[in-house]
Symmetry: C2
Subunit: 600 residues, 2 copies
Amino acid sequence: MAQLIADKRDIDFVLHEQLEVGTEYKGGSYAEFNRKTIDMIIGEARNLGIKEMLPLQKVGDDGCTFDAGTVTVPEGFKHVYDLYCEGEWLAMSDDPDWGGQGLPHAVSMAANEYFYGSCNAFMLYNMLSHGAAKLIESYGTEAQKKQVLKKMFSGQWSGTMLLTEPEAGSDVGALTTVATKNGDGTYSISGSKIFISGGEQNMVENIIHPVLARLEDAPAGTRGISLFMVPKYRINEDGSLGEFNDVVCTGIEEKMGLHGNCTCSLTLGGKGQCIGTLLGEENKGMAAMFQMMNEARQMVGLQGFACATASYIHALNYARERVQTKGLTDPAGSTPVSIINHPDVKRQLLIMKSYVDGMRSLIYFGGLCHDKIAMSEDADERSQYSLLLEVLTPIIKGYITDKAFEVCSHGIQVYGGYGYVEEFPVAQLLRDSRIFMIYEGTNGIQSMDLLGRKLGMKKGKPFMDFLETIHRTIDKAKEVPEVAPLAESLQAFFTRYTEVTAAISKAAMSDKVLDAYAYSHPLLEVTGDLTMAWMLLWRATVAAPLVDKKKKDAAFYKGQITTARFFINTMLPSAMGKMDAIQTCDGAVTAMDDAGFGGK
Amino acid sequence: MAQLIADKRDIDFVLHEQLEVGTEYKGGSYAEFNRKTIDMIIGEARNLGIKEMLPLQKVGDDGCTFDAGTVTVPEGFKHVYDLYCEGEWLAMSDDPDWGGQGLPHAVSMAANEYFYGSCNAFMLYNMLSHGAAKLIESYGTEAQKKQVLKKMFSGQWSGTMLLTEPEAGSDVGALTTVATKNGDGTYSISGSKIFISGGEQNMVENIIHPVLARLEDAPAGTRGISLFMVPKYRINEDGSLGEFNDVVCTGIEEKMGLHGNCTCSLTLGGKGQCIGTLLGEENKGMAAMFQMMNEARQMVGLQGFACATASYIHALNYARERVQTKGLTDPAGSTPVSIINHPDVKRQLLIMKSYVDGMRSLIYFGGLCHDKIAMSEDADERSQYSLLLEVLTPIIKGYITDKAFEVCSHGIQVYGGYGYVEEFPVAQLLRDSRIFMIYEGTNGIQSMDLLGRKLGMKKGKPFMDFLETIHRTIDKAKEVPEVAPLAESLQAFFTRYTEVTAAISKAAMSDKVLDAYAYSHPLLEVTGDLTMAWMLLWRATVAAPLVDKKKKDAAFYKGQITTARFFINTMLPSAMGKMDAIQTCDGAVTAMDDAGFGGK
């Protein structure tokens, strides 16, 4: 049967054959999760995703309704939200003490692939709720946690993230929302925030807003930002809802996509009646927000990936069904063939597959790193995986969302004219996916994070560990005859990459700093290419010995090898050339005067 | 004053300094067009575009209305259509005997840049009308021409192009619409067509549909296709409108963009009352349609370019105004700067500018080739420029529209979160531009045209001429000290390109044909990159000596050199790597089995 949204066989492959999560979990705190239980969980997620969430995708595209401060989500969202909460999916990997299900993170990534792939706009509500709850779990007092956490993890209340203001986007430090001490331990909040996903909506009783604001006497910039917990309705001692807390939605944005998720403008304390409590320490709001943001960035990578995998599966099914034009090598007059047989269509499907496969492996691997942290009793090991995740974060967020958009564009191209028609699903996936390159830190910011922070962090040790992890895969692949030539090619790429990163790191700390940062995004691109090639080679190395062993799946395993071959031999050479440009680090961008851009 | 839509100074530069059209036109049939008259014409187009058409862009996005067979275009379209027709813009470069204005084509490209950049959806009606009229001018009998041509060139009647059917998209030969001889020289037409831009609309009295159909006894495939002229209303002897001709609009598509232009489904002869006349010869419809299509493909390139230039100018204006974050090399605590000063934003603007500049030069150069054909009295010269245009067509259509979409995506990225909000203009430009990669032959088909036809056409002579034309620019540049190093870099790229095209041409005629065609699109990409670099180097070579001579414009001229430097040193190295992949021509795409793609 044709798959919808995501490829079940490949999900199984990554979890059980590439990452061998069953082995990883043995004997530890996740020991109860064996192949059978994991498959059952993912099967349930698949059912909920395809049966309930997928139908929301189209209706969600008609958007939310704003009327006099209230926002109504699209028809059907509330019903599926209730099912989602009943299934306890919102906090599937969280602490059972707070109502979480305690599932391994790698497994939750697979479940989320079905959920987000079915309807990203719907899932974004839950993603923000979860992020807000995690922030409170990490930084809240015991009282704050008791007040809200179980209700948030259960989905009874939702959560958001109030960061952006009209004049403070990427420049968070420029925000002007003010918090005034009331003397009773609470703060009065006053300001306006924009771009708040799910900032107001009608699926929940109450909304908990973590808000970045500035104490009146705070230092300028990011060092003067504090974090507050601000509910939509105040919360009485007994947990019941109190008065309206003067958080007013003033409008929602008309966007290019993701219409099912309302993007709200909120005014806090317009009538002087908005009360919040401090989350964490005064003036330490940025650090807290960054913790949330790091997790959010990994989830945005998953959002992009989910669009990409859905677009790939749609395009694949279409290319198998759509018959058009005879084959290129067929004698004249023979019958037309499915377009998957035309080289340029097949090439595009292989581009899509190579990215989607690489993304899936990378995202699940990220989940496994979280699991290692959760399972390990060794502080060094926990730190090591935590730092590896930090290195991976700009790749997961920046590279994956860039490439997801490209994959979705190929999805349209494979459909031809039908791809441009909204009756078919691929146009919406492209529109939905475009925001992932922007929110939670634009991909330009991700690239600066990689170059300016992750490369040199802790004297470069975590980055070196990242490279070593990749190199272990290359070494293993060299010993498997079917993939050894690919390993050699990737080895050459890897060697060049280490030279180039050394050169650009050096440039970034010299008086060529502006020139170097003009190559931060190209650096992110080739880093992502290396990461994809690593994952695809790893897959091929696992698959190669199984081609003859498991006859039933021979085509699948051979496909793994061919995909790695395609990516390494056809896609990587461009990246190799790009590394030449990075190494040269030509100063044209710096040299360009404002007036040289014209337009005046 | 900040420019909107297009850069006036750069338009002047290309026409008068790079292409020197005044000199080209001297003494010939375009001799009356000197700099003053040309500027006046473009100034008028600019006024009409910015004052009248630009406001249509937003309202057009709300779409057309379909009701019981009629289509109503968006509010305001009819008023501007009348102004456009009054200005006699529809046939600005056409034969005055048929109501044309006889303007040089290069000049009309500049006028069209303003028109299409202001509102592509509006202009698409006119583009199709013009294409249909040209087809009738070329293939119609004197009687057919007298019947419709002046009314079409004046815009009193519109025209379309009825090609696609549900089962015949890229595979035109699969179409099933039937034409039956009536014995009186007319034909009864019966069939259903889809994806007809402007197939039904309320701005004109009558619509003339060129229709591809099959005579009852025609051979199978493309060799059995004939072209017919089918009016919406029959035309009486005296030119007045007769009975409704049974061409019924059954619906319009809901698309991702270009909403202001209705995409219609038409049923012809549902009641047996659709009468047409033959255009050209029986079973020779494809050749005629290809003539129209070649011109249409060049215009689609212009459509893409117009979106790109508009997005670039919007992003540039925004980046100059939007203040966010202090500069990277500023001491801590200093004030924030316009985002154009941040390296990654500046890099993106430079990517946008280099493509937009290169596209403008290429498209105007294409116009100049048309002018050379119109002016020349030497058949060999006419043939030479005509063949050069044939080589350029897949690049103009395929490469430009691919890159226009990328440019529009950068436009969104420069705007950050605001780019995703439809209140700002860049999201729509991205949505509008996505179709250009598909219609008038997908870009995959363009790449096959380049590899399979244009490279080897007439024993490769036209392609060699194309390369020689480029090489003359490189040779000139070598003699200008400021750009000589760039010329050397492009020379290396050029040399590699000739090797690679030789290799892939050979492969395409061997038993590696499927492998070769899996690289047809990468070949189109590097061919386009070479063409962009050619144009940018040409610009820089013209600009270099003027930096010191024309002080007022020094920044503009320096900008030309820096843009060429950026493209050649930063963008071309990736393309150099891509050529390695093309040369290797790895067979992974061919080797991939259907089952290897998974999804089942």
